[in-house]
Structure formats: C-alpha cells, structure tokens
C-alpha cells in the first residue's frame, strides 16, 4: 500500500488565459491532516475538483489512494469522503433522506445514517428539510454525508464554513480523532490561518496556483514566530490574546464544547459511523 494518500504531479489547470493551478506537486501522507492554505482564488478548490474528478487537468496527474484520477472513473470514491465549496443538499428532502441517498449510493449499512446523524449532532434536525436548515447545520449535514461511509480519505474544502466557534472546535476534535484513532487522512483547504494552524500536521501554502511553501506545523510555526517577533505591536499582541480569551469565554458560557478550564463539557465527538 503506498504511503501517500494523495499526490499531484505537475498538475495544471487553465481556463483560457487564466492558469488556476500551475505545476502543482503535492504529496499527502496517509493518516496525516494536511492543511492546504491559500487566499481566495489561490487555486484550492480547483485542485480539490481535480482530485475528485469533477474537472480535467489541463496537464499533469492526480493520484488518490493509489489510483490515478480519470474523469468518469469513480470506483476509488467509495473510499473518499468530500465536501466541495458550499455545503449543499436536496432542499426538499430531510436530513435523514439526504443521508439515505448517500448510504444507498455508497453501499453503506442502514445504521450508518443514524450513526452519522448522531456523530454530527444532527438528531434534533433529522426530520427537518435540508432547505430549512441554518448555514451551520447545512455544513454539519455535508460533513455527515462525507463521513457516512467511513472513508479512508477526507477531502474537505473550507470545512469550518458557517460553523459557530463551538462547532468549529467540535469539528476540529472530530477530524483529529479520525486521524489519530482511525488512521483517516484529512486533506482540508482553508483561507483561515487559525483553522489550519490548530489542526494540520503539515501545511502547504498555495498562491496563484503554485505551492510556495510546505512544512510541518511546528516548522511553519517556528518560521512564523521568527518572522513576526519584531513585527507585532503590543496592541496587536493584546488583540490576539483577547480573541483567544473571548473564544474560551464564549465556549464556557455556551457550555457546548470546552469549558473555561479547557475540558470538554459536551458529548464526545468520537464513535458513530466513522
């Protein structure tokens, strides 16, 4: 079994005279959480679309779980869960019905629907139509759909979109537990630095379609600290600490994920379908 879950080689995607992804070489190791960091329009979503065979590369190749991705060849996606761009679902169907479609088309057992509902804490909304869900709960539904068939690889495009701070912490812990306890590989894109910094084992920074930096989180943190030592004013440091304090206070008051002492107060994010 190859030790890379995803690799791209000289991957290029051009739209007429715009090069969205430019000679991208990427290796995501099995069992790691890889943060794919970039600004809006950097080429993150285009790369993910090529990983999932939704669009064809202009040149180069993508290999996922040892299989070269060719548009229309979809067998490998039985082992891949994904969330691309916005969280979408059939609006006239309930949460349960949406997940049942995923279950049927991935050949998953019947109980996987209930398990994924519980895992993403969607029980109160299970029989609500997807079109009536809040943005955050639509995101949870999309994550439940991605996790339902216990994939070896999760490809998540901006997984924290629409989630409140407690939800972000919860999903972060869920993804961490999937990687640590189940050996799942997580490839997540984000433009939110803090999100990637909290979770990723390795981080790749993409800019104008090119990978301009790739290192472990610790290496990147060291570089960032060295770079930033003299750059922050005392006010900026105070502001950053205040943000962290406010997040912790919010979580403690809402009692949803982590108390002021840093311990979880809600249900475990472990178990279920994944």
């Amino acid at each position: 079994m190859p030790d890379t879950a995803v690799s791209t080689r000289a991957l290029v995607k051009r739209y007429r005279d715009v090069t969205a992804v430019d000679s991208l070489n990427l290796d995501v190791r099995r069992g790691e959480i890889y943060g794919f960091l970039g600004r809006n329009g950097a080429g993150k979503t285009t790369t993910i679309r090529m990983m999932l065979g939704l669009i064809r590369p202009s040149s180069g190749e993508v290999t996922v779980l040892g299989k070269r991705i060719i548009p229309g060849e979809t067998a490998v996606f039985a082992r891949v869960g994904f969330l691309v761009e916005t969280a979408t679902a059939y609006p006239n169907l309930t949460v349960r019905e949406n997940l049942d479609i995923q279950r049927r088309l991935t050949g998953s057992p019947p109980r996987s629907v209930a398990d994924s509902i519980t895992l993403l804490r969607l029980d109160p909304y299970a029989d609500r139509r997807a079109g009536q869900l809040s943005l955050g709960n639509k995101q949870r539904l999309a994550l439940a759909r991605a996790l339902l068939h216990s994939p070896e690889l999760l490809v998540l495009d901006e997984p924290a979109n629409g989630l409140d701070p407690a939800g972000i912490v919860e999903i972060r812990e869920l993804l961490r537990s999937l990687a640590d306890n189940r050996g799942a590989t997580v490839f997540m894109s984000s433009h939110i630095l803090a999100e990637v910094a909290h979770l990723a084992d390795r981080i790749g920074i993409v800019h104008d379609g090119r990978l301009i930096e790739e290192s472990s989180r610790d290496e990147l943190a060291a570089k960032a600290r060295a770079f930033a030592t003299d750059a922050y004013t005392p006010e900026e440091r105070e502001q950053a600490l205040l943000t962290l304090d406010l997040e912790r206070y919010f979580l403690a008051r809402t009692g949803d994920a982590r108390g002021a002492d840093g311990r979880r107060t809600g249900a475990s994010s472990e178990g279920g379908a994944v």
Partner: protein
C-alpha cells in the same frame, strides 16, 4: 447499482412541487378543450356568459369526438412537448441549480447510470401524466355528451396522442444534454422554444419528416394536413435523435468539466 441509482432518483422527487405542477398544467388542457367544445356547441349561451365575443367566428368547427381528439393531439403535441422539456430540465438542470451535481458525480457510481436513471424517471413521470390526463380527457368528453363516439375513433385518437407523447420523449435526451452542458434549467427550456418555432418554420418547407422538431407538428397537422402515420424516415430520425442525445448527455457527464 442501476437499481440503487433509480431508487434515489425517485427519492429526489419526494415532496417536489414540480410533479404536482406538471399534473395540474396538463390536467387543465382537456378542460380547456372541453370548454371550447361547449362554446362551439352553445354559442348563444356562451355569448350570454361573455365567453364568446360577438365578432368571434367559429365557422367550420364542430363539437364532435373527432374534433375533440384532434384538438387533444394538437394540445398534447405542443404543450406536452414543452411540459416534458420542463420535466427534463428539472431532473437534470436542478442538480446544478441546487449545486448537488458535484456531490452526485464524485460518488462511486458510474456516471452513465445517473443519465439513464433520470431518463427512466422522466419516462415514468411522463407516462403517468399522459395516462392520468387521457383518462380525465375521456371522462370530460363523456360528461360533455359529444356526438360521434365510437370505439374505433377513441382507439385511433388515443393512439395518436400516445404517438405524439412518444415522439416528444424521443426528443428529450437532447434537452437533457443542453441542461448538463449549460448546467441549469433555463437553457433547455429556451432551446425547446426555439426548436418548436424552427420546427414549425421548417415544417412548411416540405422537409418536415426529416427535421426532428417538425415531426410532431407534421403529425398533428400544424404545418400541413394531419398525417395518419409518419413516414419511416421520421422514425429513423427520431431514433437517431434519441441515441445522439443520450450519448451526448453521458459523455458530457463523464468527460466534461462539471464545476458549478
């Protein structure tokens, strides 16, 4: 796997307003024709009720079963084709409108099954509508008490309606391809409207039997006198259009970029 895909395609219609909307639109058609027949039969009372303008001419029209079936074929042929376009645009285009196509196409399912299953759902939906509305049309005709009914006439009239409905369905895969190519619901509907107009224009050139969108107008007598049966060449053209449309839809889903 096809059975699973087909099952999920039917699931997607659960609580969809489109199914009831298409039934409502098609069910109005026989009622409209019946009202027209009644006005033809009772012009004095219709004028009293304000349903007939004093200068309106109904010369040459008769309130008979023969005329009733002719008008049913006319309305089903044109209105039905547009309604079927709406159904196909809904089934294929809405996956892009709701941005669910990306979820569907990265599943471990061969993409051609989605195209085939959606066409199968459209066939079932279309057949159900035609059967329900034909039963309604027969009941409305009987209530109206139109003269000239015979079993042979009814069989021939129903066969004509069913043939027009079948031809409309054979043209549907091209609409499906337009929906997936354009990634939405508007373009396929616009395409059908343009083709319907072109079909009428082309039908007057004498080549109606060779242009797919002129064949229904030819059958129902929009571009010439109604024909009892279509020339064999028209069936070849229709079969070719069906195969080409289905193949193009599958190839589009399989090989083209499917970003939203």
């Amino acid at each position: 796997m096809f059975g699973q895909v087909l099952g999920t395609e039917f699931m997607k219609l659960h609580r969809a307003k489109a199914t009831w909307a298409t039934l409502a639109v098609l069910a109005i058609m026989p009622l409209g024709i019946a009202l027209f027949m009644w006005i033809v039969r009772e012009p004095g009372r219709a004028a009293q009720l304000g349903l007939l303008g004093t200068k309106a001419s109904l010369a040459g029209l008769e309130a008979t079963w023969l005329q009733y079936f002719y008008m049913l074929t006319l309305v089903f042929g044109v209105g039905g084709m547009l309604l079927l376009t709406f159904i196909i645009a809904y089934l294929f285009g809405r996956e892009y409108g709701d941005a669910t196509a990306k979820n569907m196409l990265a599943l471990p399912v061969a993409r051609h099954w989605f195209a085939v299953a959606k066409l199968a759902v459209a066939a079932v939906w279309w057949t159900a509508l035609i059967v329900i509305v034909l039963v309604e049309a027969m009941a409305v005709g009987l209530v109206l008490g139109l003269p000239g009914f015979s079993a042979e006439l009814a069989a021939a009239g129903i066969a004509h309606v069913l043939l027009a409905a079948t031809i409309s369905f054979l043209l549907a895969p091209v609409v499906a391809w337009i929906a997936v190519w354009s990634r939405g619901e508007v373009a396929p509907i616009a395409f059908s409207l343009v083709m319907l107009a072109l079909g009428n224009l082309f039908g007057k050139t004498g080549w109606a039997e060779w242009f797919p969108y002129s064949i229904v107008p030819l059958l129902i007598g929009m571009v010439a006198d109604p024909v009892g049966s279509l020339p064999p060449g028209s069936y070849v053209v229709l079969a070719g259009t069906f195969v080409a449309g289905t193949t193009a839809t599958i190839l589009q889903l399989r090989f083209a970029d499917n970003a939203q």
